[in-house]
């Protein structure tokens, strides 16, 4: 017996799949942001060797497909270290590292966008390096970086669809299952696409609201 019709439960399945994507997206974005920014701070302090190593790793992560990175973590790590890696763990590790690499580049260019004269002036006033970072660099760098960061996050949300390939039951996997059962690819993939689209728009909307708030100090207020 085959159920080839759509049922109301399929909507629940789709919602579950989307929640897996959104949860992984939020978690890995947060971890990626923290790691990427701490890498940028290490570079700000000009830690020798470590800075170069971080730049190399981030270039490698930026310039290779996420799918290959997923395979490396999911299939490669267990083979090398003889440990168990579940699909969700592999997805979380890969997406966090990938996000961190992109955040690092954005954060570095944001820090470098601040004129040297400001840093020197602050140092002359007797601020420590940390105080310069906290009170002079961070606020301006945040306003500079928020635009690229939002674009990155919208992109990373779409990248989460790749985790279905290593067996995480996310929205794309649900789409695959429904497609195989109902044999109505146009309806299934349009529905899946719409859900991803709505999620991406939501991220962009929250992002632009946040950006407006960060940039409020320099916005034109009228006469």
């Amino acid at each position: 017996m085959r159920f080839t019709d759509f049922t109301a439960f399929d909507l629940v399945l789709l919602a579950q799949g989307l929640s897996v994507n959104v949860a992984l997206f939020l978690g890995t974005s947060l971890v990626g942001l923290v790691i990427g920014i701490s890498w940028a701070i290490l570079r700000f302090y000009r830690v020798p060797v470590l800075s170069e190593a971080i730049t190399f790793v981030s270039e490698l992560l930026k310039n290779s497909p996420v799918l290959v990175q997923l395979f490396l973590v999911f299939f490669g790590l267990p083979g090398l270290l003889h440990i168990r890696v579940t699909p969700v763990t592999a997805a979380a590790i890969t997406l966090s590292a990938n996000t961190a690499a992109f955040v690092y580049v954005i954060a570095v260019s944001a820090i470098e966008s601040i004129g040297r004269d400001q840093l020197e002036a602050a140092r002359v006033f007797g601020l420590s390096r940390w105080q310069v970072l906290r009170h002079v660099v961070a606020p301006q760098a945040a306003a500079f970086a928020v635009g690229p960061l939002i674009a990155l996050l919208v992109n990373q949300l779409q990248v989460t669809s790749l985790i279905s390939v290593i067996g995480v039951v996310d929205l794309t996997k649900i789409g695959n299952i429904l497609n195989m059962r109902t044999l109505k690819p146009f309806i299934v993939w349009t529905a899946v696409g719409l859900l991803y689209y709505a999620a991406a728009k939501l991220v962009a909307w929250f992002g632009s609201r946040f950006e407006k708030r960060l940039r409020a100090h320099s916005a034109w207020r009228g006469l």
Binding site: L67, F71, L162, T172, P185, F186
Partner: protein, 223 residues
Amino acid sequence: MRLDLSILLPHLGFLAQGALLTAQACVLALAGSVIMGAFVAIARTSSSARLQRIAFTYVDIFRNVPFIVQLFFFYYGLPEIGIYIDAFTTGVIALSIAGGAYASDVIRAGILAIDQGIIEAAEVSGLSRRVMFTRIVLPIALRTSVRPLGSVLINMILTSSILSTITLNELTGSAQIVVSQTYRPFEVYVVLLVVYAALTYLVSLAIALLHRRLNRDMMEAVA
């Protein structure tokens, strides 16, 4: 824990075949997406509000839906409406359409950056709109957008790894086959990661050279 890259030696030829398929798909898809992008950019910069809206909707949809979903939409959907094409053609079409959305943004920016005086001069000379576009606007726009089109190409090389999910044995697909023959996932995927990174690095070098060569008469303006 051991890392032995020599086990890959007998499989290098097979991997090279996969790389060749990746290159073919990317070159074809690049041509497709530049053509697609040029038409969409024309629509987006046209004076007709309706054309503009249609073009914007296309770009918006294909940039905000994950590529893997678009790919499955075409791969499973096209046979449904009686179009039977192989995985390679499907992949190239999907890559071209998705890449076209990104390319159109690049070309549109190139068109908008053209000095209004050049277009007015062409109008005064009595050139038809078609000649004006193909002989004046497009060459200038394409020439200045070589570098951003290059990053579209690099993104396309990375995205093409997803074609392995529709049974196409390009670089990632053939690596999966090598893994199933050698049972050495870590070695294979590490090498794959480095190969992709090296490939995209070489492409970016080539693009920088091409960009400098094409814009050599206005170097002080773009440098």
